[in-house]
């Protein structure tokens, strides 16, 4: 009799635990389905596409703007760096970038064959052969040279594809003014980053502000591009050609080939 009592009183406890598990399951499952459901709002897609097609349609243009990027120090402090930028682009194979800030004052020249980084502060430059068009060059610069042009997402020939290739959701937030210019505010979530864009309302859909959030990084640092001017402009090939100043020194890019060369020289010295 005594044992039976104990057993029967244990059952309700079991059920309590079981019901808690079931409740927890239902509490969390909608979150998962919501993320899968997230689609691109047609209005957000329309605004983004208009911007992409507008820039893609310009055969050569000039961008003047500002970038701000967060660096999270080891102690967890967020420091934001600003750079003034100028970009000259001529499709399909010419690009010039100048960026100046507290840390660097550098030019990047791409003339269809080689890429040169000129460090004005130190009067040093590095140059290397790169692929034959802007798209391939940007990939190469990022993959091999560890070098990214400011706002490089906007410099590819198919901007829309690049921005939405792993999109989870896209929303239209509303209209707001950036530096006095009325813009559409859109917000997209990609698998690795979230991005927001403020795209000028009207005939010239210029992206006035572009914020990329590295959401999985502790401290969620952001990269922000502000465009003051984006103008269609005829550009001479000369501006993309670098001729080194007399007293400038050439140094190497830390490429896999460079590392391989060092390794070989070390082996020879070891013999």
């Amino acid at each position: 009799m005594y044992r039976f009592k104990g057993l029967s009183s244990a059952f309700p406890a079991c059920f309590k635990f079981f019901s808690l598990v079931v409740l927890l399951f239902f509490a969390f499952s909608p979150v998962c389905t919501y993320a899968q459901d997230g689609a691109i709002d047609p209005q957000a897609e329309k605004v983004l596409k208009a911007m992409c097609r507008y820039i893609e349609g310009l055969s050569s243009f000039e961008i003047k703007g500002q970038t701000a990027y967060d660096v999270i120090t080891d102690s967890g402090q967020k420091i934001t760096y600003f750079n003034q930028i100028e970009i000259l682009l001529k499709r399909p194979d010419r690009l010039y970038v100048h960026r100046v800030g507290m840390v660097r004052d550098q030019d990047i020249y791409y003339d269809g064959k080689s890429l040169t980084l000129f460090d004005r502060k130190r009067n040093l430059y590095a140059s290397t052969k790169v692929p034959e068009n802007i798209d391939k060059m940007l990939d190469y610069a990022k993959d091999v040279l560890n070098l990214a042009a400011p706002g490089s997402d906007l410099l590819y020939s198919d901007i829309f594809k690049g921005l939405t290739e792993d999109t989870i959701s896209g929303s239209y937030i509303g209209k707001n003014r950036i530096n006095g210019i009325l813009c559409h505010h859109i917000a997209f979530r990609n698998s690795e980053v979230d991005f927001q864009m403020w795209i000028q309302d009207g005939e010239n859909p210029v992206p006035r502000k572009f914020i990329i959030t590295s959401k999985w990084m502790t401290g969620a640092p952001q990269y922000m591009l502000t465009i003051f001017d984006l103008t269609s402009k005829k550009l001479d090939n000369k501006v993309f050609h670098f001729s080194p100043p007399k007293d400038a020194h050439k140094v190497a890019f830390l490429t896999p080939e460079y590392i391989e060369r060092l390794r070989k020289s070390l082996k020879e010295q070891g013999k």
Binding site: V71, T73, I212, T213, M217, Y223, V251, F253, Y258, L262
Partner: protein, 130 residues
């Protein structure tokens, strides 16, 4: 028991005072760099500049450069610093040398060669040029 604990504590105290690898340059230590650069150099997490999918590329890059920032080879000492070590700033009192058209910095018997890792200038410890 008390004696054992006391000995252990004494050992730990002594060990913490031992100048472990005192002559080895910490790999991202900054010498006389500006404050702005010091913060930048200390930053481990930098905001991504692109919204494009790049996971594959980042993984591959780490393969080359690694977290240890050792560029290559077994640890061969050159005045206490392993060849292939990269630093983001040079120690003080360096000489700028140009040997066969290549730029070197000589700091207390250690030779560094400057190179760009992306937009950042780094200095790689190399064998003395001949």
């Amino acid at each position: 028991m008390k004696i054992t604990v006391a000995v252990l504590i004494a050992l730990i105290m002594i060990a913490s005072e031992v100048p472990v690898a005192k002559n080895i340059l910490p790999q991202t230590q900054l010498f006389g760099a500006s404050k702005a650069l010091a913060y930048y150099g200390a930053g481990r997490r930098i905001a991504r500049r692109t919204a494009r999918r790049t996971a594959r590329r980042v993984v591959r890059r780490h393969h080359y450069y690694g977290h240890s920032r050792r560029v290559y080879g077994p640890p061969i000492a050159a005045a206490g610093i392993a060849i292939g070590t990269t630093v983001v700033a040079l120690p003080g009192g360096c000489r700028n040398l140009i040997i066969n058209g290549a730029t070197y910095y000589e700091c207390g018997g250690t030779y560094y060669q400057p190179a760009y890792n992306g937009p950042n200038l780094v200095y790689i410890v190399v064998a003395p040029p001949r």
